[in-house]
Amino acid sequence: MKLDRRAFVKLIAGGVGGTLLSPLPWKMADDTAIWSQNWFWRPSPERGGATTASTVCQLCPGGCGVRVRLIKEKRAVNIDGNPTHPVNQGGICPLGAAGLQYLYGPSRIETPLQQTGKRGDLETMKAISWDEALEILSIKLRRMRQKARGLVCVSGKREGTVPELFARFLHAYGSPNYMVMPAAADAESLGLFVSQGNSGPLGYDLENARMVVSFASGYIEGWGSPNRMMMAFGGWRSNPKRDRTKIIQVATRGSLSASKADEWVAVAPGTEAALALGLAQVIVSEGRYDRTFVSKYTHGFDEFRRLLRQNYTPEEVAEITGVEKEKIVGLAREFAGTKPAVALSGWGQGRMQGSMYDFLAVQSLNALVGSLHKPGGVTRTPKLPLAQWPKVVLDATSLEGSKQPRLDGSKGSQFPLPGQLFNNFVKNVSEGNLYPAEMLWVHEANPAHDLADVQPFLEALDKIGTLVSFSSFMDETTQLADLVLPSPTYLERLEDAPTPPGLQYAVFGLSQPILSPRFETRHPGDVLIQLAKSLGGSVGASFPWSDYETALKERVKGLAEAGRGQVADEPGLQPWKDGQGRQLAPNYDSFDDLWEKLIEHACWFDTSEAMPSWESAFITPSRKFEFYSQKMRQVGIRGNDLTYLPHFKPVEPAGDPRDYPLLLMPYETMAITNGPVANPPFMTKALFDFQLKGNDSFVEVNPKTAANMGLKEGDRVALQTERGTLKVRVHLTEAARPDVVFIPTGLGHSGFDSFIKGKGVNANVIMVAQQDQVTGLTTWWGTRVKISKV
C-alpha cells in the first residue's frame, strides 16, 4: 500500500483524535502524577490505632486542659483543647496547639551536659551520665554547705509543687535565695500585701462583669490565663445587646486589645495609673462611690480623697494623660454607674513587674465602686485544700541560712516589703554587695533572653559561681550553663497545674506522662529528691519521699479529704455561672478513686469557697481595705503621706531626649510566645511579613513620624538606646503613637534550633530598666531611642 501525504496526515490526525477521545492521556497524566509522588523520601507516617489522653498544658501558667491524640500509644500526632476542662472549654491557644513541636523539636536536650571549657561554648559541652551529673552537683553542694546562703534558685514557675520543692530544698539547705522570674504578679502581690494584708493572687470574676476597664492589660493577648480570657471575651461578645459587657482599653498602643474593646482610650506612655486616679477623683468628688464599703470597710479614705482633690482633678489628669477632660468624667460616671464593673491591671501579658503604685491606683477604683470580693468584681483565688508536706527539717546551717539577708534585697533595709526582686539580685551580684552567689539554679526560666534589661544579667554571670539549668531545651540560659540537667517535657512527666492566674474558682490540673520520655531526662522533682538524699542530714530528712510522684500524691490526698470539689468530667462546665460559694459534692469516694479520675480527666475544680465577706477579707492592721497603708509603715517604710497612698509616680525613661528623641516600647502578642519556650515553627509561620521578613523583625512607626524622618515601609534602621543598637526594619502603622515606636518581644533567640534562632531581634537587649525606690520592683515600660537609617 502506498502511503501518500493525505493518508499520512489522516493517520496522524486520526491517531491524535483517537488518543484524545480515549481515556489514555488523562489516565497517563493521573498515573504520572501519582507515580511521581511516591518517592522513598516521602514521609509516610506509621498507621495504627488512635487513642486520646487528657492532660494539662504546661507551656505557660494558663493551666488549660488538652487532649493528645496518640497513634499506637507511642506517637503523639495532635493536641487540641479538652472540652471538659472548665478553664479553656475545648479552646486552645497557638502555643498549646503547637506543643508537639516542642516534644519532637530538634532543640531538646538529650542527656545531662557539663561545660568543660568556656561558658557558652557549645563545642565543649560534654554529655555525661545522670550519676555523674548528680555526683558533680552533690560534691559541690556539700563543699559549699558552709556558704549555703550562696545557693540561689530562680524558677520560671510561680505556683505548683515543683517550684515548692525547689524552695524547700533551698530552705533545708540553708539559703534564703529562692526567687521567681519577674512579672506583674510581683507588683500585684505587694499591692495586695499593703492594702489588704495578703498576697493574692487575684481572681477576677470577669465572666460576670458588665464593664471591664483594662489598664494596659493585653486582656485577649496573653494576660492571665490566655484561653480563659479569650473565652470570656467571646462570652462578653455573645451576650444579647442589653447585657453586653462593655470593654474599655486604656493603653498607648493600638493593640488588638484596644481594637476589640468598645472604646480605646489612648493615653500618653506610662500614664495609665494617672487616668485611674483621675477616674477615682471624679467618682469620689461626685459621690458616686459605694458608701457602705467606703465608710465601713476602708481606712484612709479622707487622706486619699484629699490627695485626689489636690493632684488628680480631671484637668490635671487630662494634662498628664492627654485624654480629654470630658472623656475622663464620662468614663468615671459610667464605671461607677455600671454594676458590676471591674478594673484590670498588669501591663500586657503581665510579664513585666511594673509599679506597685500603678497596681494600687487601679485597685482603688475597684474598691471605690465596691467591686472587691463581689460577684463580677475582683477577689482572691481560693486556696487549694492540698495537704501539707511534713515540716522542713532544719539544722544549724539551715537555721543560720534563713536568717541571712536575701541577695535580691527583699525584706532588707532598703526594700522592706516581701518582694521578688530578681533584677535587684542581678544588681547586687554585679556590684558585689552582700555576699557572693556561689551557685545559681535556673528552673524552666530563660533570664538570658527574657529579662527586661538583659545585659546586666549577662554581665553579672561572670560573678556567679556555677550556673545549673533545669530545662528541656537548649535555650540561651542553658547554653551558658555549667551543668545542664534536662527535664522531660510536659507530655512526658507528672506535674500539677494549680489554679491559673486571675481565676475566681479553684482548679487543680494534673499533667501526666502520656508518653515515655524520649531522652535521658529526669523530672526536676526527682532530681531534687535524689540530690537531697545524697546530701543526707537535714536536707535528706526534708525530702522523705522515694520519688516526686509520692510527694505529689501526698499533697493531693488533701483534695480527697476536703470533701468538696469535683473532677471535671463533662463538657460545658461553667463554674462561674452560679457564683462562688456553691457547694460541690465530690464525684469520687476515696483518694485512689480521685487519683484515677484525675489521670483520666486531668482536672479537679471547686466553687465551694465563697468570696470572703468585707468583714473578714482584710487582714491589715485596721482590718479594713487600706487606701492609706499602715502595713507599709509596719514593715518599716519611711516616707511622706504620698508613700502610703496610691499615687501616680511618673517614670522617666532612660536616655536624654535630646539624643534619643523617640520612645521605644515593647509589645506582646499571642502570635509570638514569651517566656521560657521560644516561638515554634508553626507560630512563626503565622506571623505577618510586616512582623518578620527573612530574619528581620520590625519596629512599628507612625506614618507621620516616619514621613518627618524620611522613612518608608520596610526601610532598614538602627535603633539606638543608651544600652546598645539593634538593626530592624520599619513597619508603618497608625497603631503607633507619633512619638513612640513599638517593638515585639519574644523574638531574637540565639539558642534553640535552626527553626527558631536568628529570627528577629531581642528587644530586651537594648532596654534599660528602672527601679522603684520604695518597693525595689522594676517599673520599666520604655526606653528612649534614636532611629537612623542604615
Binding site: 502524577a33 506517637r75 507621620k704 502603622t733
Partner: protein, 253 residues
C-alpha cells in the same frame, strides 16, 4: 441553586470577626492537623503554605482612631461562579479532576496525588486559598514522629488547600455507621480550626439544617461573604457589626 439540596447537607462555616482575638490558634491547629509542612524561613508569603491564613485588616484611620481586625481565611468552599452550575472556579479549570466539589456535602476537595501541578486552580481561586509545594516537604529529625496518619503528606509539585478536615467527616461517619446511624449530629464533625478557637468565634455545621447554629448565624444581618460580587457563593460566612470590615470584605484584592 446552590448546593445539592437532595442530600440535605451543605457544610459551611461562620466566623465572627468581632469575636476573633487574632491569636492564630486556628492557623496553627490546622497545620498540625493536616501535616502542613514548614521550613526555616516562611516569610515569603507567596511561597508559604497556610491552609488557613489569617488576614490583617485595619480601618485606615489615624491614631488613635485606628482599629484593626484579623480575619481567618480557610478555603471558602465556593459553590458556583457560573450560575446555574454549582461549580467553584477552581474545579472548572482542573485538567485532571484533582479538585472537585462533593455533591453530598458541598465541600470542595483537592486530591493531591492526582494533581499535576499546573497551578491553573491557583490562578482561578479568588481567595488565594490554594498553595503550591515549591519544595519537597522536610521534617527535621525527629519531627516526622508528629505526622498524623489521617492526612497524607504532599510532595513537591502539587497544589494543596484546606479540606475542611474531610478526614474528620470520614471518621465521624464511620463512628456513626458503627452505631447504626445514618446521619451525623451537629458537632460530630468539626474541623480542627473551629474546634481550637478559644473565643468560640468559629461555628461549623450544616447550612441546610435550619436548626443548626451555623444556619442561624449565616442568616444574621451582620453576616457577609468575601467578594460576594463575584458570585462564587462561598460556604464560609463572616460576621461583623463594623462597617469598615464589611466594606473591606467586598473590596477588590
Amino acid at each position: 441553586m446552590s448546593g445539592n439540596k437532595s442530600s440535605g447537607v451543605r457544610y459551611g462555616m461562620v466566623i465572627d470577626v468581632d469575636k476573633c482575638t487574632g491569636c492564630m490558634a486556628c492557623s496553627v491547629a490546622c497545620q498540625q492537623e493536616n501535616n502542613v509542612s514548614f521550613r526555616e524561613d516562611e516569610t515569603n508569603k507567596l511561597r508559604s503554605i497556610t491552609w488557613l491564613e489569617v488576614f490583617y485588616l485595619d480601618n485606615g484611620k489615624p491614631y488613635p482612631e485606628h482599629r484593626k481586625a484579623y480575619m481567618p481565611r480557610p478555603c471558602q468552599h465556593c459553590d458556583s461562579s457560573h450560575h446555574p452550575y454549582p461549580y467553584p472556579p477552581c474545579t472548572f479549570v482542573c485538567p485532571v479532576n484533582a479538585t472537585h466539589r462533593d455533591e453530598e456535602t458541598g465541600l470542595v476537595n483537592h486530591i493531591p496525588v492526582r494533581c499535576i501541578g499546573c497551578r491553573y486552580c491557583i490562578s482561578a481561586c479568588s481567595y488565594h486559598a490554594r498553595y503550591f509545594n515549591w519544595w519537597d516537604p522536610k521534617w527535621p529529625e525527629p519531627m516526622e514522629e508528629m505526622l498524623t496518619p489521617d492526612v497524607s503528606t504532599r510532595m513537591r509539585g502539587v497544589v494543596e488547600k484546606c479540606t475542611m478536615c474531610i478526614h474528620r467527616l470520614q471518621r465521624a461517619k464511620n463512628l456513626a455507621f458503627m452505631e447504626g446511624r445514618r446521619e451525623l449530629e451537629e458537632g460530630e464533625y468539626v474541623p480542627a480550626c473551629v474546634e481550637s478557637c478559644p473565643a468560640k468565634a468559629m461555628t461549623f455545621g450544616n447550612l441546610l439544617d435550619s436548626h443548626s447554629e451555623v444556619a442561624k448565624l449565616a442568616k444574621s444581618r451582620h453576616a457577609f461573604r468575601l467578594l460576594e460580587k463575584l458570585k462564587t457563593k462561598p460556604k464560609v460566612y463572616y460576621l461583623s457589626s463594623q462597617d469598615w470590615i464589611r466594606k473591606l470584605a467586598d473590596n477588590v484584592l
